[in-house]
């Protein structure tokens, strides 16, 4: 059964024994659109849950513009920094949302943007570190449908 990632499982893993939960389990747990993006972009690397913190409203009153803030636990030094942050929205018509490339020059591994969310789903974020390791997190969101009144025009 393909089901979306459960945020609580991920966070629990992140807090304690993050490294025990490795890619095979993650890939088995995520939906097909996420899997295909992960396979395309990270064919060999393991993705571990953790390090990725996501601020996303649990309920968006309009899916056209939803604030999303991502931070990754990292000292952001020349030898230990976040090199990218990628957002995947599995229930959108296209799962790719955005990818941000960073370096120690940023000083802080934190990005904020506004995204389109077309349906209730878990938004997945993958972060790549300078040592080549991959980390991930997700956040669940419910989207209110606009009143029919407006759909009419």
């Amino acid at each position: 059964m393909i089901r979306t990632i459960n945020r609580r499982n991920w966070l629990a893993g992140a807090g304690t024994l993050a490294t025990l939960t490795v890619q095979p389990r993650l890939l088995a747990a995520v939906s097909e659109p996420v899997q295909s993006v992960l396979k395309r972009d990270f064919p060999t690397a393991e993705i571990q849950p953790g390090r990725v913190n996501i601020e996303l409203p649990a309920l968006a009153e309009n899916g056209n513009s939803v604030r999303m803030k991502i931070s990754v636990d990292s000292p952001m030094t020349p030898t230990d920094y976040v090199s990218f942050i990628q957002i995947i929205a599995q229930a959108n018509p296209l799962p790719d949302v955005a990818r941000f490339d960073l370096s120690h020059a940023n000083g802080l591994a934190e990005v904020e943007t506004r995204i389109r969310v077309s349906a209730e789903q878990d938004i997945v974020v993958v972060a790549g570190l300078s040592d080549g390791s991959l980390w991930s997190g997700s956040a669940h969101i419910v989207v209110t449908v606009a009143a029919c009144l407006d759909a009419l025009y």
């Binding site: 296209l94 940023n106 000083g107 506004r114």
Partner: protein, 109 residues
């Protein structure tokens, strides 16, 4: 006509981590919508955003149609030397919008 807003300090101390915020007018038309006559509205999106600090790229974003209209992107840059910050948006047809800001960096206290 694209209109961009940038929020970045004009002056900072060396080593200071500066908050940078950007907003640009753009429909980010997904290509999935139809007009009132039922015709598909062609896709029209910004595909890339880059911030350069004294010519060196320090932050790059690859954008897809799921980025909301009038893209907002906020990030941080560590102040190093005085000079210029460039903000460059590129659309799917390689049209470029560029905004430059001067930055004065004071020696660390």
């Amino acid at each position: 006509m694209l209109k961009a807003r940038i929020s970045v300090p004009a002056r900072a101390r060396q080593g200071e981590i500066m908050a940078v915020k950007t907003l640009i007018s753009h429909p980010m038309e997904t290509g999935f919508r139809r007009n009132s006559l039922g015709q598909a509205i062609p896709r029209d999106i910004l595909t890339r955003f880059e911030c350069r600090y004294n010519e060196k790229p320090v932050f790059t974003a690859t954008l897809h149609p799921a980025v909301a209209a009038n893209p907002f992107i906020a990030f941080h840059v560590r102040a190093q030397d005085s000079g210029k910050l460039e903000f460059i948006w590129t659309d799917q047809d390689d049209q470029v919008t560029r905004v430059t800001r001067e930055l004065t960096v004071d020696p660390a206290a």
